[in-house]
C-alpha cells in the first residue's frame, strides 16, 4: 500500500514539471463533496471536460465514484485501483477523477482527436474507382475498412509497439479464410519488436521484413482502403499503424508491385495490356543503359549496321568512354529526382524544366554526352515511373547501377552474371515466409491468372495458391457462367 502511494506521488512529481499538467479541485453544489480532476490539456478535449463532464459532476447529486457512471453521458468510463494505469491513461487523453476518501480512480475518456479530412489518394491515384485514402487516425482508417467488409469475421487485433511512442498497431485478417500461420508469423514479428519509437508504418515494414538487407520491398504498403479490403478478402494479413496513412499488406509477391489497383477497375484485356507494358518498361529501365555501355564497349558486332553511323557520329565528340558518359547522365537524372522531391512543388517544377531541357541539351552540345544516350536515359527514367508502387520504383532506380558497372567491366557476360545474381537473390526472398517470386518460382500455374496478365473476374474464383488460405474458393464458378444464348437477339 505504501509503495503504491509512493508511485502515485512520483508520477505526480514527474508530471508537474510539464506545463500542460492540470490538477483542479472542485466542490459539488449539492453534496459539497470535493473532488479532483487530473488531466493533460494537450491530449484531452477541453470542450468535453467543460460541456460534458464538469456540469454533471458539479450539479448532480453523487457521493461515491460508483455513482459517476450513472450521471455522466460518456460511455468510456473505467473504475480501477491499479495505479500503474494512471500514467498511460492520462497520456491517452483520459480525465482522472479522484476523491479524497476513496482509493479508486475513475478514468473518463475525453480524447482530443485532430483528424485530417479524408482526401484523394496521391501516390496511388486512379482515375476510376473510389477516391478515399487513409488518414493518420487509426479509428478513422478502421472505419474505412469496416465499411467495405461488413462481416463479423473481420478480426481487429490490437498490439502495441515502442517503449516511447506506444504506437498502436492493428492486425487485420478474415477469420476462417486467412492462413493461421501467416497471422501468427505477423503477430509474433510485431510482438518481438524491440524499439523505442515508431514514426510511421515504413519503420514497421522495414523491421518485420524477412530479409532486411534486400533492396526489394517485401511488404506492400497502400493508402487505398479499397485495396486493403480487396487483399483482406483474398486472404492476406493487413497491419494498420496509428499515425500512419499507409496500411501494410503481406504476404506479397513481386508481381503485385507492378499491378496497380486500377487494373481491377479496367476491362481485363486493357488491364493485362497495361500490366505487360509496365513489366516491359521496368526491364527496359533497368537494362537499357547497361546494354548500351556493354555493346559500345565490347560488342560493336551486335549493333545493326544502320545504327552504327548514328551512334558513331553522336559519340564522336564525346571525350569519355561510354561508362563515364552513362554514369554522368544517370547521376544527373538521379540528382534531378532528388532535388525535385525535396523542394516545394512550385520550385520543383522549375527544377524539372531546368534539368530536363537545359542540362540535357547543353551537355550534348558541349560534347559531354551523346544524344542517343540522352534519349535512352530519359526513356529509362520515364519507364521507371510506370511502377504503380512507389517503393519498387526506388528499387529499380538503384538496380541500374550495379548492372551499369558490370556491363563496363565484363560486357554482356557481366550483365547476365549480374542478372543471375539478382535472380538468385529474388528466388531466395520470402514475404512472411511465403515465396516472393511466386508464381514464377515455385511455378504455380493457377496463380498466373492474376500475375503478368489479369484474367476476367469469372476466372478468379480461387484464392491465390501462395496464401494457402483455409477456404480456397472465393465463389462458385458455376453460378457465374450463364446460359449461352443461341442467337444474338434471343
Amino acid at each position: 500500500m505504501k509503495r503504491k502511494k509512493q508511485s502515485v506521488q512520483s508520477i505526480k512529481t514527474v508530471f508537474t514539471k510539464s506545463q500542460d499538467y492540470k490538477r483542479i479541485c472542485y466542490e459539488n453544489k449539492i453534496t459539497k463533496l470535493t473532488f479532483t480532476l487530473t488531466f493533460l490539456t494537450t491530449v484531452t478535449d477541453e470542450k468535453i471536460v467543460r460541456d460534458h463532464i464538469l456540469p454533471f459532476l458539479l450539479e448532480n447529486e453523487w457521493t461515491k465514484l460508483e455513482d459517476v457512471k450513472s450521471i455522466l453521458p460518456i460511455e468510456d468510463l473505467q473504475l480501477t485501483d491499479d495505479t500503474s494505469q494512471i500514467e498511460k491513461k492520462l497520456l491517452n487523453g483520459f480525465v482522472m477523477l479522484t476523491l479524497e476518501k476513496e482509493q479508486q480512480y475513475c478514468f473518463i475518456s475525453a480524447k482530443k482527436e485532430n483528424i485530417r479530412n479524408i482526401t484523394v489518394p496521391e501516390v496511388e491515384f486512379s482515375v476510376i474507382g473510389p477516391k478515399e485514402a487513409f488518414v493518420e487516425s487509426l479509428s478513422e482508417n478502421l472505419n474505412l475498412i469496416r465499411k467495405r467488409l461488413q462481416v463479423k469475421e473481420l478480426i481487429v487485433e490490437q498490439l502495441e509497439v515502442g517503449t516511447l511512442s506506444k504506437t498502436n498497431i492493428v492486425l487485420l485478417y478474415l477469420d476462417g479464410i486467412t492462413n493461421e500461420a501467416n497471422i501468427n508469423t505477423m503477430r509474433q514479428r510485431i510482438k518481438d519488436l524491440e524499439v523505442d519509437h515508431i514514426a510511421d508504418s515504413s519503420y514497421i515494414v522495414q523491421m518485420i521484413s524477412d530479409n532486411q538487407n534486400s533492396p526489394f520491398p517485401q511488404f506492400l504498403d497502400t493508402e487505398r482502403p479499397d485495396r486493403v479490403a480487396a487483399t483482406l478478402s483474398e486472404g492476406k494479413v493487413v497491419l494498420l499503424v496509428d499515425g500512419s496513412p499507409h496500411a501494410i499488406i503481406g504476404p506479397v509477391t513481386i508481381v503485385e508491385f507492378f499491378s496497380a489497383f486500377e487494373d481491377y477497375f479496367l476491362n481485363w484485356i486493357l488491364a493485362s495490356f497495361f500490366r505487360l507494358i509496365r513489366f516491359f518498361a521496368v526491364a527496359f529501365s533497368v537494362l537499357v543503359t547497361p546494354i548500351y555501355v556493354a555493346t559500345l564497349t565490347y560488342h560493336y558486332e551486335l549493333i545493326p549496321q544502320d545504327l552504327i553511323g548514328i551512334l558513331v557520329t553522336s559519340r564522336r565528340a564525346v571525350p569519355f568512354p561510354p561508362i563515364i558518359e552513362a554514369l554522368f547522365l544517370e547521376l544527373t537524372i538521379e540528382l534531378l529526382r532528388e532535388a525535385g522531391a525535396r523542394l516545394p512543388t512550385k520550385v520543383g517544377q522549375t527544377i524539372g524544366i531546368v534539368g530536363g531541357i537545359v542540362i540535357g541539351t547543353a551537355s550534348v552540345e558541349a560534347g559531354l554526352t551523346s544524344n542517343v544516350l540522352l534519349i535512352f536515359v530519359a526513356l529509362a527514367a520515364l519507364a521507371s515511373f510506370t511502377t504503380p508502387v512507389y517503393r519498387i520504383g526506388n528499387t529499380i532506380r538503384l538496380l541500374r547501377f550495379p548492372f551499369l558497372l558490370v556491363g563496363d567491366i565484363w560486357g554482356l557476360i557481366g550483365i547476365s552474371l549480374c542478372f543471375s545474381f539478382l535472380l538468385t537473390h529474388m528466388i531466395r526472398l520470402t514475404s512472411l515466409g511465403r515465396p516472393y517470386l511466386e508464381p514464377i518460382y515455385p511455378p504455380r500455374l493457377q496463380d498466373f491468372k492474376d500475375a503478368f496478365i489479369r484474367l476476367p473476374f469469372y476466372k478468379q474464383s480461387k484464392r491465390p495458391n501462395q496464401l494457402r488460405t483455409k477456404k480456397a474458393s472465393r465463389f462458385d464458378r458455376k453460378n457465374v457462367i450463364k446460359k449461352v444464348k443461341k442467337d444474338i437477339d434471343e
Binding site: T297, Y300, I308, G309
Partner: protein
C-alpha cells in the same frame, strides 16, 4: 567460410576483367569491306574499306591498301597506316578480283574469315571483274560502298534471279564433296555505278565458268528452292513478262543404271506485262506451255555445260549420295557425273494476269 569463397570469387572475376579487350565503338576502325587483287608475281594487294561517318552527310569511303603474300601480313601493313585498331566485326563484303580467282584461287584467303569469331557467316563474298581497289574507290550511295554492294547482292537474292549465297553457303558447298560453290560476279560500270553481271562457278577456289544474267533465272530454279525472278516469254510474236511468285524444285532418282535424274520444277506466276491486246485463257495456256519449254531447254543446256566442265553447283552429287549406300566420290567425278542423264519436268501455272478485266 562462404563469404571468403565469395570474396575470392569476386576477386578473380575482377582480375579476369583485364583479359577482355575493350573495343569502344568510336575508337576502332569498323572495316566493312575487304578486297583482294592479283599482283604479277603471285602477291596479293589487299584493300580495306571503312566508312568514315560524318554528321548529317553520307559517310566518306576510306580505303587502305597493302601488298603481301598472305592476308595477315597485308593486314599488318594496313595497321601501320591506320590511327586506330581495325575491327573485323562489321565486315559485310569480301571482294576478289577476277584475275585472282582465275590464276591463284581464293580458298586460302577465305580461310581466315571462317576462323574469326567476330565475323558472321552471313557476309557476302563476290568476285569483281574490276580490281577490288578500284571498285572500293567509287561512290555508290547513301550508306557507304560496302553497304551498297552487300545491299545490292541481298536485294538480288530476295527479289531477283541471284541464288542464295553467303560465306556459310560457300563453305558448305565447298566442304560438300558432291557440290561446287558459286559466287556473284560484279562489274563496275562507272565511278558511281556497279552491276551484277552473272554468277561465277568455282572449283577448288578457282573460277571455271560464268552463268550470264540471261541464264541466271534458270540457274536459280535449279540451285535454289525459291525463285522470285522475272522472265519474258514470246508467243506468236507477242511478249509476256511472267513473274515467278513461287517456285519449287524436287529431284527424283528415276533410275540408277544408267543414272537418270528427273528434276521437277513447279512455278506459280503472274503476268506482269503483255504486249498483245487480250489475254484469253487459251493464250495463257500457250504462254505456260512456251515457258515450260524454255525452262526445259535452258536448264538442260546449263546442266550439260556443267557436266562438261566438271562442276556441280546444283548438287546432284550430294543428292545421289544421300540416296546411295557406300557412295564413291572418286568414281562419281571420274565417270558417273558426266554420263548422268537429267530430265527437266517443269510445270508452270499462271494464277493471275492483272486486276482489270
Amino acid at each position: 567460410m562462404k563469404q571468403i569463397q565469395l570474396i575470392t570469387l569476386l576477386f578473380f572475376f575482377l582480375l579476369l576483367s583485364g583479359c577482355v579487350e575493350r573495343e569502344i565503338l568510336d575508337e576502332i576502325i569498323l572495316m566493312e569491306g575487304i578486297g583482294f587483287d592479283y599482283v604479277e608475281g603471285g602477291d596479293i594487294t589487299g584493300t580495306i574499306l571503312y566508312p568514315d561517318y560524318k554528321k548529317e552527310t553520307e559517310p566518306e569511303n576510306v580505303t587502305y591498301s597493302a601488298t603481301g603474300e598472305i592476308m595477315k601480313t597485308i593486314l599488318q601493313d594496313i595497321e601501320r597506316q591506320a590511327a586506330r585498331p581495325i575491327a573485323f566485326g562489321s565486315l559485310e563484303i569480301v571482294i576478289f578480283d577476277l584475275e585472282l580467282a582465275k590464276k591463284r584461287g581464293i580458298l586460302d584467303l577465305i580461310d581466315a574469315f571462317q576462323r574469326d569469331p567476330a565475323i558472321g557467316s552471313g557476309i557476302y563474298l563476290a568476285i569483281s571483274e574490276n580490281k577490288a581497289k578500284e571498285l572500293f574507290k567509287g561512290e555508290y550511295g547513301l550508306r557507304g560502298n560496302a553497304r551498297f554492294i552487300s545491299m545490292l547482292i541481298d536485294h538480288n537474292i530476295r527479289h531477283e534471279d541471284l541464288p542464295k549465297t553467303n560465306l556459310q553457303r560457300f563453305m558448305g558447298d565447298f566442304y560438300q564433296q558432291g557440290k561446287t560453290p558459286y559466287l556473284p560476279l560484279i562489274k563496275q560500270n562507272s565511278k558511281t555505278k556497279i552491276e551484277l553481271s552473272g554468277v561465277a562457278l568455282l572449283k577448288y577456289g578457282k573460277i571455271v565458268d560464268v552463268v550470264s544474267n540471261e541464264q541466271s533465272f534458270f540457274f536459280k530454279l535449279l540451285a535454289d528452292k525459291y525463285s522470285n525472278g522475272l522472265h519474258r516469254v514470246e508467243v506468236d510474236g507477242k511478249e509476256a513478262a511472267v513473274q515467278s511468285i513461287i517456285s519449287t524444285n524436287r529431284f527424283e532418282l528415276t533410275s540408277r543404271d544408267p543414272l537418270h535424274i528427273t528434276v521437277h520444277i513447279k512455278i506459280g506466276g503472274t503476268i506482269n506485262e503483255f504486249t498483245g491486246n487480250k489475254l484469253t485463257d487459251s493464250f495463257i495456256k500457250k504462254i505456260e506451255k512456251k515457258f515450260e519449254k524454255e525452262i526445259q531447254k535452258h536448264c538442260t543446256q546449263l546442266i550439260k555445260r556443267f557436266q562438261e566442265k566438271e562442276i556441280d553447283p546444283i548438287g546432284f552429287g550430294h543428292f545421289v549420295k544421300s540416296k546411295t549406300r557406300n557412295f564413291d566420290f572418286n568414281q562419281w567425278w571420274d565417270s558417273e557425273y558426266s554420263q548422268m542423264e537429267v530430265t527437266i519436268k517443269p510445270v508452270v501455272t499462271i494464277d493471275e494476269e492483272g486486276i482489270i478485266e
